[in-house]
Structure formats: C-alpha cells, structure tokens
Assembly symmetry: C2
C-alpha cells in the first residue's frame, strides 16, 4: 500500500495520528466548501500549509499543533441569549420546587413570573444567584444527566445543537485532518459545554476549557464516593482568564485561535505573541438577513451579548488578525441549511 | 496489507489511533517483560483484555479509555526526598541573590546554611514559603527554562529522569498500545512535571494534572503579553484533590488508576466507584536492597515521604485493589539497569 492510499484509508482518524501529518500530507481538497473564496479562507489554507510542511521555516511538529475556539458566537449562535443562560433560567422552576422558600425571593420570583421585560432587567448579581442555584449543589452525575436531557429536548423549533456554524465545523475538521488538536476555550461553563461538545463538535471533554467551579469529594451512606459541584470559582474563562485557562489546562501556547468578541481579545493576543506562523481570527456578525448583525464595530448595532467593539476591530487590523465577515465569507451558515 | 501487518506498521502510533483498538487488537506480546509472573501482572493483562474486546460485557470504547498515574513513588523514585522539593531548595541561593533582604530571614537562612539536619526540621509553613519564593513570581517561560535546565543537569551521580521505574514505563506503553490515554495525576507541581513528562514518560503537558497555582496575564512595555506565575492555589492535587482535579482537567472517570500512598486513596476509590472493569493498583515499596522499603503498612519502616498506611493496605484488600510488591513483582526496577 502506498502512502497516499494509506493516508486516505485513515481518513478522519489521521487527525489523531501524528505520523500522518509528519509525512507532510495536506488535506485541503474539498475542505472549507461552505466558505467563499477570499482573504479569510485563504488565511486558513496558508496557515495550515506553512505549519505542516517540513520544509517550511514555520513548520510545527504535530504534538504542538493546538487550535483553540471560543464557542458562543464563534462555533454556534449566541443571540438572542447565550444557550447556558437559557438553560439556567429554565431550571429555576425545578430549583424552586425543591426549595419552596425561594418562590417569593428575588431574582427567582421575577424568573418564575415569566415576564421577559422584567427578566431582561436583572442585574449581573441576580444572574450570578441564578447560576449558583442552578449549576451547583448537585452531584456531577445529576448535573450531567439534567443538562443532557435539556440539550437533547429543546422546547423551540430547533435544537441548539443544530444552530452550529457549518463553516466552523469545516475548519475544525480541516485542522484535525492536519493533526491539529482542537480545543474549545469558552466563557461558558466547562461542565455544561462538555455535556454536548463531543456530539456537536467532535471535541472530547478533556479538550473543553471553560469557566470552572470546584467540586467536593465526599461519601454516600453506603461508602460510595461522589463529587458535588460547589460554588467556588476556580477559573473565570473570559478575557485574561482565557490565556490563563489555556496555560492551566493545556500548558502550551496555541498556534491558532478563533473568537468573536472582546472576551476573546487576550486569547488572540497570547496566541499571536508566539513565534512563527499563528492564525488569529475573529467572526464578525454582520449578516442581519441570514443570522444576526451586532458589533458595535463597523457601525453594527450595539447589543449586550457578544460585543465586538471598534477598539477590538482596530487591534485586529493593526495586528494582522483576520476578521471573518459572515455576510461575505460564509456561503452557507447553518448545519441544517 | 492485512490487519496484522498494518497494526505492526503503526507500532507505537496505534496508541493515538482509536480504530486500531476498536478492531480488538490486543498488544500483549512481549509486554510487561520486567514484571515477574504473578497476580499483579495478570491483573493488568486481564483488565486490558476485558476492556478492549468488543464481545466483553466490560468493553470500553476507545475515547473513554483513561488511565491515571501518580508520579512520585509510582512512576519514579521519591526517596530520600521528592524531586521538586530538592529543586526548590537548590533554587534558594538564586532567589536570595535577587532579593538579598531574604539572606538573614528564615527559612531561607537555614537553607543557605546547608545544614541538612536543620533543614530536615523545617516546618510545613517554612516549606510553603520556599515553594512560593522559588516557584512563583516569574514568567512561565522563565520558570520552564530554569526547571528544564535543572532537570537536565543533575548534580548527583544520576539524573532524576533515569530513576524511573522500567515496569511502569512498560505499563504506560502497554496501555497506550491498547488505545488508553495515559495521564499523570500528581501532588507535585503541574508546571514542574510538565517540563519533563513528555521526554521521560511520553506524556504531553495537557495530560499532566498536578497541584496548580494561578497565573496573571499582563503586558510588557512593548505591548507583548506574558503570564506570571502567582501564589494563588487553584488545585491541591492530593487526597480528595485528585478526583476533583481529574474531574476539572479531564472530565471523565478513569478506568485505571495507579498510586503508592495515602495521597492516592481517593483517586483509586473514585476510579473503582465506576461501573465495569476498573484497574486499581498500589505500588508497595518493600525492597530495601534494590530500592527502598517504607510503609508503615506490612511492618515496613515509617517514613515521612510516601506514606502507605496499614489502613490503606486494608482498604486495598477489602476493595480488591491490587498491591504491587516491588520485591516480588518487579524483575528489574530501573530504566538504567
């Protein structure tokens, strides 16, 4: 069997097989088919070519090929509200059913009222209370089962897990096919995203870095040990917390980083501060017709969720980061299209 | 090419290639050659056979094959003193050279005196001060370079990196050849062990879980970002901290766990509390001639470093954990033999 056939046989599995990449195989044929030709698509192809070709001055050995992706707004939809926040709000009735004393206490009272206008006015402190009440205090197994049930049984027209960006799935696949190890680095809850990341993105739990709380080890009456999710914050995986979280959980500087908001700024800076070829990309939501349009960079509407400031846009331009325009760079947006 | 040849061609790389294991390949020929025949060696073979055979009721899919290993006393020597503690003590002169005001301050004064008897009497609080002074406050790059230099230039007869247990390297290799992902879960410093784990054990940084401090993201005068190691403890990866650390960093319950002291107890309990076949093993240092003998289980001498209590021994027996006797189970101990 010649190498060419051998590599073909391996197919997707080649991603996990360092030698395949060491052998300078470039899997680009048919890759990124939902992308329009342009600077963004070309930047991805150029980066991969430069880092997997042994003859390139920017060659990266397979074990160092780390790529990190923000989730909300980068891999899937974050509007009108982050998926996990919706989960927490919807869990409130179940929490109150177990602790009836919360029924007339704010912010639980407002959430129970179902008054969306009042809910939109809840403060960050209120939101924190809701997160603590709905995400901590239970065993890790209970949490996982509950979150899994929720994510698989949506109450809307379409499951969240289908609101994934097809072009980004293609980038994940293309990088993996070239021996890159792909990680999610999200401001969302690490435990929450781990529940579905393998199914949705092909990313295993150990490659999900997110905002993380502690757990507490203890024993049931029968002596069986269990872990309880507690409210102690170990990692706030946003802004400077992203490079800090990457260092803690991965221990290597990524070669590629993808984000879409100011919370991803430091992750891209930290990635870009390494030597050699580094790919830094930001998704700009500029397509009100096919998805959403928000910034406020480039005169786009200013929203509360997923802020892309003009300052971030300027930094991207000055540091040679690539801004992905959903409107111009993506031929197709969603997996279900 | 028939499957047999194909697998042989893959060699060590098969470990990273899930399909190889999915195809029920058992790599046992010539494995564990430094082990004497006996219950311990058999337990490892039985466990692997039971978990990789698709027809077995205890079959484990490749992505779930996680094995965790304590480091000090399990993978390499921990006597007369943990490697990292020696590193910290030896770094004291360099720290004092930069901060001369510490010269006459305890515990630095005692360490500088070189009086081993006085040093042995330092309290845990003193030791903490030394750890903070020698392991934090510098950029992650400075720390990595310094620790690497030290580990590669030993001042004794033999580098630490050669005081590795050959039988355990064979277990690591055997598990990887059967698609297990091997992790170190150590009470030692995560950053410290990551410096050499890839070279010494073939374990990449992202598969080292250890006691971890925070880092702080900031900018140099030229605008370049850097991370500084700070003294904030995020994870004390000992005792209950081990399952908590596994949940934080890996997010899956291991199928195999190896330890040697009371600090590993909860890691083995947590591993054993999962369904199906789980391998739980403890190394007992009972060979004063070829290595060290300490317990105090089984009437072995009571030492401060790497305590294996009679209670742990009883728990191991009652829960069907396997105790590895260095004296009886290991034909050869060190890599250099």
């Amino acid at each position: 069997m010649r190498r060419r056939e051998f590599i073909t046989l391996l197919g997707g599995a080649a991603a996990a097989w360092p030698l395949a990449a060491g052998a300078q195989t470039l899997h680009s044929e048919g890759a990124l088919s939902s992308w329009n030709d342009g600077a963004a698509k070309q930047a991805i192809f150029d980066f991969v070519r430069a880092t997997i070709d042994r003859a390139s001055p920017n060659y990266v050995s397979p074990e160092d090929r780390i790529a990190v992706f923000d989730q909300d707004g980068t891999l899937w939809v974050e509007h009108p509200m982050y998926t996990q926040v919706v989960y927490c709000l919807e869990r409130v009735p179940a929490v109150v059913a177990r602790k009836p004393e919360l029924k007339n206490v704010e912010p639980f009272k407002t959430v129970l009222s179902g008054n969306r206008e009042a809910m939109a006015k809840l403060s960050l402190r209120d939101l924190e209370k809701i997160l603590v009440a709905t995400l901590t205090g239970m065993s890790v197994e209970e949490f996982n089962a509950e979150a899994k049930r929720w994510i698989e049984n949506p109450r809307w027209n379409r499951p969240y897990t289908e609101l994934v960006y097809q072009p980004m799935l293609e980038v994940l696949r293309y990088l993996r096919d070239n021996a890159y190890k792909t990680y999610i680095v999200t401001g969302g809850g690490q435990d929450f995203v781990r529940v579905y990341a393998e199914t949705v993105y092909g990313i295993p739990p150990e490659q999900v870095v997110g905002t993380a709380g502690g757990t507490k080890y203890s024993y049931a009456k029968d002596g069986k040990p269990f872990l309880t999710k507690d409210a102690k914050l170990l990692l706030n995986d946003n802004n400077a917390g992203k490079p800090e979280g990457i260092y803690l959980m991965i221990g290597r500087r990524p070669y590629a980083a993808f984000g879409n908001s100011t919370g991803d700024r430091q992750m891209l800076e930290w990635t870009g501060a390494g030597a050699g070829a580094r790919l830094k990309m930001l998704v700009l939501h500029d397509d009100a017709t096919r998805e959403y349009a928000y910034g406020p960079a480039q005169g786009l509407p200013d929203t509360k969720v997923g802020i892309f400031t003009p300052a971030l846009y300027d930094e991207a331009k000055s540091k040679d980061w690539t801004v992905i325009s959903i409107k111009n760079d993506w031929k197709r947006i969603f997996v279900f299209e």
